[in-house]
Amino acid sequence: MTAEVQTDLREQAAQRFTQLGWPTMELEEWKYTNLAPLQRIDWRSEMEPRLQPGSRPAKAGAPFVAASLRAHALAELIFVNGRFADAAGGANGLEILPLRDAKSHPVFEHHYARYADYQRHAMTALNTANAQDGAFIHVRDGAAIDGFVHLLFIGSGDGVWSHPRNLIVAGRGSQVTIVETFVGAGNYFTNAVTEIVAGEGAHVDSTKVEREAADAFHIGTVQIHQERSSSVVSRNISIGGALVRNEVNVALAGEGASLTLDGLFVLGDQQHVDNHTVIDHVKPHCDSMELYKGILDDKSRGIFDGTIIVRPDAQKTNSRQVNRNLLLSESAIVDSKPTLEIHNDDVKCSHGSTIGQLDEEALFYLRARGVGERDARNLLIYAFASEIVDRMKAEPVKEQLRAAIGRLAR
């Protein structure tokens, strides 16, 4: 991608954002989430120069060391306020580059910004216009990568925004596991976009863990494009942040592709987390299994707004969508809005949603054996989440999540 093409893209995206403006609650897709608090702040990009590889970023100090999975990951890239800070590790068959070094890579040129639609989505336009850096990961055809690649995004400082932009391309018949973690400190704003391309027959396991600071804003889009017979597991886990919007959009664009889309949100205080998913069955013989689980305490509000589209050509589609929510407080609110748009007859689609409280019988059973009430509640809350967490491959990430969910569960 030449410098001019890059600049053109940025300018077009910036123009488009100006036309679209910030999303408002009048839009059906944004009816539950008010971005006014975010627009009131005069956000600035942090202009700190890039750190040399190997040198630990000063701001990625003590609070974030625990978020690093360098000891376990095959490779790790760290970004601070959207800028590349540090990298370690690698493997045969795997190319990992900071975005700024990837621009002349032919695979990058071919795929970058092709899937996440900045014409329709204002926040993607904002990201495309302002993206400073991110990760480009290319798995060569047929390469089966053991272990996982960790991308760590650290937000830091009041009034700072960042627009991390990632592109993950899994070549034909390849296998890869990616974990993205978002953490930080302060009243910052992360607006991330990750595009994932699963080539023919590729297996991609991708997890995004949002553990932003309590005062932070996070808007993240994961855009997945699946080719023929590819298999993708994508999880979106939200624990932190004050105001969070997670978008996951998947196009099943090749015959026989299969998707498992998991989500988990664990909220307390006055957190607001809006999960918006679109699974687009474009081609026939594709499967999609979607499971989103919410745990809501205090005055938190969670949203699951999931759409499944089955195009006229997508015969023999098999699709299931489930949203389950556990309310731990009478003041917590959850909105569950499943939508099916089916344009042919030869499909198997189902969806369901439930909202409930902790099972009193189970609570009594545990207590009657000597487990204290608080511990018993934690066990049950964790049990509810475990269906999602236990399906993860990256063991150290599971451990981090168990600890994070355990701390929140009261």
């Binding site: 019988e361 059973y365 545990l366 054996r369 487990v371 204290g372 511990d375 049950l380 049990a383």
Partner: protein, 252 residues
């Protein structure tokens, strides 16, 4: 060990126990028998502290402590164990992890060292053999996908691990075939000693063939109406509960 005096209790505003008296001494095995609806399960649930059950009058003392004022977990830690009639399935809570947490909470309360994973596993393996449960059960969710008989055996397994002072068996025999019945009775008999007491609540006499009680009490309409030795259980088996109910009716 357990002293129940004039216990009035019920659920959802409906009184079911109307002045029940019972004394269980240390090292004794008592059976409570009675027809459906006589208040057997209410008694078991009140003793374990199940929410929604209300005590309106009377006292229950366990080793000199006021049991009714204690939370369910504190009763368990003090040494009361209820083998439940309908053990609940708890997917996602690992059977063995949960039991280790329970045992260590109880040990902590007794002032004993907590067991580490290896020590606990060793103990658990030993006790599983007692009730003929396969080790694969350890790593499943609590009672998840267990058959009725497996659930009951799991209750007895938990009891054997937790080593309570007073074990209350609430219709543990219901739904068990003869082999499972023998296994359950064997598990309880292993616990029997001069320090442990057992309260067997049952409709039928058949468990008592294997688990011979020191005394048998007949519960009818929320009161103990008759008491005797183990031969009373056999008499009930032969004659049914009707004659007792007639006796109660004519005594009014």
């Amino acid at each position: 060990m357990l002293d129940i005096k004039n216990l009035h209790a019920g659920i959802d505003g409906k009184e079911i126990l109307h002045g029940l008296n019972l004394h269980v001494g240390t090292g004794e095995v008592h059976a409570i028998m009675g027809p459906n609806g006589s208040g057997k399960s209410t008694l078991a649930n009140v003793l374990a502290g199940r929410p929604r059950y209300e005590v309106t009058a009377g006292t229950v003392s366990f080793e000199g402590q006021n049991l009714l004022e204690m939370k369910p977990e504190d009763r368990a830690r003090a040494g009361v164990f209820l083998a439940m009639q309908y053990p609940v399935e708890i997917p996602g809570v690992n059977n063995i992890y949960f039991l280790k947490a329970a045992l260590n909470a109880i040990r902590k309360n007794r002032g004993e060292e907590e067991l580490d994973a290896m020590e606990f596993l060793q103990l658990a393996r030993e006790k599983m053999k007692l009730v003929d449960l396969d080790e694969s059960f350890m790593n499943r969710g609590v009672n998840e996908g267990f058959s009725g008989g497996e659930k009951k055996r799991n209750e007895i397994f938990q009891m054997a691990v937790l080593d309570p002072k007073l074990a209350i068996l609430d219709e543990t025999d219901s739904g068990l075939d003869i082999d499972a019945l023998r296994i359950v009775a064997n598990g309880v008999n292993t616990l029997r000693s001069e320090k442990h007491s057992v309260l067997v609540i049952t409709h039928y006499q058949r468990l008592l063939k294997y688990l011979v009680p020191d005394s048998v009490h007949v519960l009818a309409e929320g009161r103990i109406v008759k008491a005797g030795g183990k031969e009373l259980a056999e008499e009930l088996e032969q004659k049914g509960y009707e004659w007792i109910e007639q006796e109660v009716a004519s005594a009014r």
